[in-house]
């Protein structure tokens, strides 16, 4: 049975839909309203406030903290400057991805790492021989995600201009009244946004302060359903959905390498040993059998299949995550693992893992679609990810906040 998040006393009364789910052993709101639409719209057009406290969080402290992380991660964390954040993954000895997350350098020898799955033991076991201490902060640190185009304006009211001028994937210590917090310009929406990290016992005060600061900026509390749509638009993976973590896979064929997840950019092979390096060096040389891609479905084809039954085209109002076969030339070449209708792009999107030979941008594939209880396929095209990538995501304060075209 899940337990409450540190922000439960604030989120529960707002959750009039009673739609909750379990996230990392905590109660998490799916959507505060019956439909997540208004929460999604706030994330893309104003700003949304999410309780992301259930994230697993670990503090790594000590002279060898960077060395330990670099040993565990596929990225060279020793290169990470103070006040910076990096996204990446970590593998097992076979070079298969265990989990993905971020690491933030909070001080000279102090880092915070996030994970989707409990990772304390994994880290602690790897820490042998390193002069570094791992602390599980999952329960003691709460996190709020403040995401969307007006999030900078809210943060300015909350913590002042200086914090709000934070660059993309940068971190800073901040103060709001008597509250001490860390702010990172990160998030899972692929938009302008921040994550606020604070001691769990002060989290409610921070929530109240953010809500007050957001009153005139269209701030709306948002749940995981809205987040799921935005993360797919942003092309982000979800552990356990778009790939199976190496520790959870019962058979090797279910696992994925970072290259197969299109995370090759976060693998630094040209350095000393790290967990999984040998296997990854081999794979880099020999190639990967599968590749994660973004797919866009042909709307006309969806409409046409429905028309055959005299039905108007219907689209899911929520993101889906039941794997669906992907075909080419009548043969299954992969699976779409999650997808959504993008209200912003007006397109039907999916993340899929397909044979590498079918992964080039522009490749035409077929995706299974069920209409009136019967199976069909609709044509899809492999496209670049992110599907949605507004310039404001990485843009500087004061720069054009628009999306451009």
């Amino acid at each position: 049975m899940p337990v409450e998040s540190p922000l439960h006393s604030r989120t529960a009364p707002l959750c009039t839909s009673y739609r909750w789910k379990e996230w990392a052993g905590r109660y998490a709101v799916c959507s505060y309203q019956t439909s997540a639409e208004s929460e999604y719209l706030a994330l893309r057009h104003a700003c949304g406030l999410l309780d992301v406290s259930p994230l697993f969080k670990y503090e790594i402290r000590g002279p060898d903290a960077a060395a330990l992380l670099s040993w565990v991660w596929t990225r060279d964390v020793t290169r990470l400057a103070e006040g910076s954040v990096a996204y990446g993954c970590w593998c097992d000895e076979r070079g298969k991805v265990v989990d993905d997350g971020t690491v933030c350098r909070l001080g000279p020898d102090r880092y915070r790492m996030t994970a989707a799955e409990p990772t304390f033991r994994w880290l602690a076991r790897q820490a042998r021989g390193f002069d570094a201490e791992v602390t599980d902060e999952s329960a003691s640190v709460a996190a709020l995600a403040l995401q969307g185009p007006s999030s900078r304006a809210v943060l300015t009211e909350l913590c002042g201009e200086e914090t709000a001028g934070l660059g993309f994937f940068r971190a800073a210590h901040a103060r709001s009244g008597s509250l001490e917090l860390e702010v990172t310009r990160t998030g899972y929406t692929g938009d302008l946004g921040y994550e606020l990290w604070i001691s769990a016992d002060r989290a409610v005060e921070l929530w109240d302060a953010v809500v007050a600061a957001g009153r005139d900026h269209g701030l709306v509390p948002a749940g995981l359903d809205a987040l799921d749509i935005t993360r797919i638009e942003a092309g982000f993976l979800l552990a356990g959905v778009d790939y199976v973590g190496a520790r959870d896979a019962l058979i090797p064929s279910l696992t994925s390498s970072p290259f197969e997840l299109d995370l090759g950019w976060a693998v630094h092979l040209e350095r000393g040993p790290f967990v999984g390096r040998d296997a990854l060096v081999r794979e880099a040389r020999e190639g990967s059998p599968e590749t994660l891609v973004g797919l866009v479905a042909d709307w006309e084809a969806i409409e046409e299949v429905h028309e055959r039954y005299g039905l108007p085209p219907s689209l899911p109002t929520q993101a889906w995550r039941e794997p669906v076969p992907v075909y080419a030339d009548g043969r299954q070449v992969g699976r779409a693992t999650s997808g959504t209708w993008s209200p912003t792009l007006k397109q039907n999107l999916a993340l899929a893992t397909v044979d590498t030979a079918r992964a080039a941008v522009g490749t035409r594939l077929e995706l299974e679609a069920t209409v009136a209880f019967e199976r069909h396929t609709v044509p899809v095209t492999v496209v670049e990810r992110p599907f949605f990538d507004p310039p404001r995501k990485k843009g500087r304060a004061g720069a054009d906040e628009g999306e451009g075209s």
Partner: protein, 529 residues
């Protein structure tokens, strides 16, 4: 001398731009000429008061064709639509009705007035959707040609007939009834509660000089449900940055395809030589030539204003003089310091994020028309109000708001003549604020700036003849193959080289884009470009 242009589009309204974009994408060299400094025609955003962006005329996106959105890649060109989730009607007795995207919530709301209506409401929606599906192909293609014996045209008519026949028998009768009934009578077939019927009936009268009890208004109710069919696209909503953002996205698509767009370029007249339109003359005397001239302005202005009766058949000219324009609505846009609450439903809640109808009863609406029938603006008008700044923070400074009020009736042919509207303008604005103040006390005090547009202003400033927002009333006698005139309902005109592409042609007004796209298609199919 060879002209650098294949086509010149007169008017940078949304249809003119859509037409230009399609022509340019087909490789044609296109020039769009807009008289005003801003693009969009009646689909325009303007910062009328510093910091506040008004959707000056058209205020919600409803029937924008999804296929145009896809063809022109309007999302890539920055168009963002924020769907409306609620229709709210405050009542003078302190009660109120809100209809939501959430069916259960709607059912409860309606049941407070009539349990029977609450049950019938979804049934009505399904029926209208089925009928809408039958009619929808009509708005996505050229108008049928009932008098033509060309096999392709006969097949087309047969197709429409087939779709009608495919409906269950009771729906066929309903459909035929609907074509002739008034909106109020038609709703009486389903519902008993006035509180529900009144806000539903108004979609039958928007932009017309008719009352909800005038025969022929029921059909227009169907248009609303055609939007529902496109529901998946959630195309009914606010454009981020105001309605002008739709026009700007279309213009961006057109420019990307190589189209040239000039603003502050007022077309004085169409150049006609040898019975053919050869180009246009601008107000500064500049003459521009092209193989085709496409009019994005209304039919009367096109024929009698830009072309001139001397170049046209008499019967068309007299038809154009009698073409029912007779604008009946105005617009009041407010910049607000803060947002007052409704007495009937306190709090700044989600009920304010959708559209708000001041339409408490059928009698109220009919009385509003009674005033207009005899040449006076309604003493208590129907108002459709939206507050886009609640969903889109880009249109007002933090904490401030914009309120957009569509107001009917404000008859163009007001007693004393339309030219007396400027003297009546402020009184008209006062009436609107007084009406709203009854539901939202403190509103007047919150107003930082108000912009009042009467039908006269819509004509003078936006070039809408008689201030008609649809370039001609959407009554059955002016639709499909009768729009704007029999024989000239397919974007062509009696003048070779002159085409029409705007709301005065099939399938009519509203922020649809279909006339512009279908006109471009017809021009390209003809092969003369």
């Amino acid at each position: 001398m060879a002209s650098p242009y294949d086509a010149i589009v007169v008017g940078g309204g949304h249809n003119g731009l859509v037409c230009a974009a399609y022509l340019a994408r087909a490789g044609r060299r296109v020039l769009v000429l807009e008289r005003r400094a801003v693009l969009g025609g009646a689909a325009v955003s303007e910062e009328v008061f510093p910091g506040f962006t008004f959707s000056v005329c058209s205020y919600v996106v409803s029937l924008l064709r999804p296929w145009i959105l896809r063809d022109l890649e309007l999302s890539r060109h920055g168009l963002r639509i924020l769907p409306l989730d609620c229709s709210f009607s405050p009542l003078p007795d302190g009660r109120s009705l809100a209809r939501w995207g959430d069916p259960e919530r709607t059912r409860r709301e309606i049941a407070a007035f009539s349990p029977a209506d609450a049950e019938v409401y979804p049934e009505y929606g399904r029926t209208m959707m089925q009928m809408g599906r039958m009619v929808k192909p009509l708005i996505d293609a050229e108008a049928p040609r009932p008098t033509s014996l060309h096999p392709a045209h006969l097949l087309e008519i047969l197709g429409h007939g087939r779709r009608l026949n495919a409906l269950p028998r009771h729906l066929r009768t309903r459909f035929l009834q609907m074509m002739t009934m008034s909106a109020a009578d038609f709703l009486d077939l389903w519902f008993e509660s006035d509180v529900l019927k009144a806000p539903m009936s108004v979609s039958g009268i928007i932009g017309t000089y008719q009352g909800v009890r005038s025969p022929g208004t029921a059909y227009v109710l169907l248009h609303h449900y055609m939007g529902e069919i496109d529901g998946a696209f959630r195309a009914w909503g606010f454009a981020q940055g105001g309605t002008g953002a739709v026009s700007l996205a279309i213009a961006a698509a057109a420019r990307e395809a190589g189209c040239e767009i000039r603003t502050e370029a007022a077309v004085e007249r169409v150049v006609v030589r040898g019975g053919t339109a050869r180009g246009v003359v601008l107000s500064d005397g500049e003459e521009l030539h092209a193989r085709a001239v496409v009019s994005g302005v209304d039919p009367r202005l096109t024929f009698l204003g830009l072309v001139g009766a001397e170049h046209l058949p008499d019967d068309l000219c007299s038809r154009m003089r009698r073409f029912k324009l007779r604008g009946s609505s105005g617009k009041v846009n407010l910049a607000l310091d803060h947002l007052p609450e409704f007495t009937s439903r306190p709090g700044i809640g989600p009920h304010m994020r959708g559209d708000v109808a001041i339409a408490p009863s059928i009698d109220y609406l009919e009385r509003a028309f009674d005033d207009a029938k005899y040449g006076e603006p309604s003493r208590r008008p129907y108002i459709n109000m939206v507050i886009p700044s609640l969903s889109d923070p880009t249109v007002a400074p933090p904490g401030k708001h914009v309120m957009s009020c569509f107001v009917q009736y404000a008859p163009y042919h007001v007693n004393g003549g339309p030219q007396t509207w400027p003297e009546r303008r402020e009184a008209f604005g006062d009436t609107v604020l007084e009406t709203l103040e009854e539901h939202m006390p403190g509103l007047t005090a919150a107003v930082l700036h108000r912009q009042v547009l009467t039908p006269w202003d819509l004509e003078q400033e936006f070039g809408l003849s008689e201030g008609n927002i649809f370039h001609g009333e959407l009554s059955l006698d002016q639709l499909a193959f009768l729009r704007p005139a029999p024989g000239w309902a397919h974007y062509r005109t009696p003048l070779a080289g002159l085409w029409m592409c705007a709301s005065g042609t099939h399938p009519g007004g509203g922020l649809m884009g279909a006339p512009g796209a279908l006109a471009a298609r017809a021009m390209l199919a003809e092969g003369s470009l």
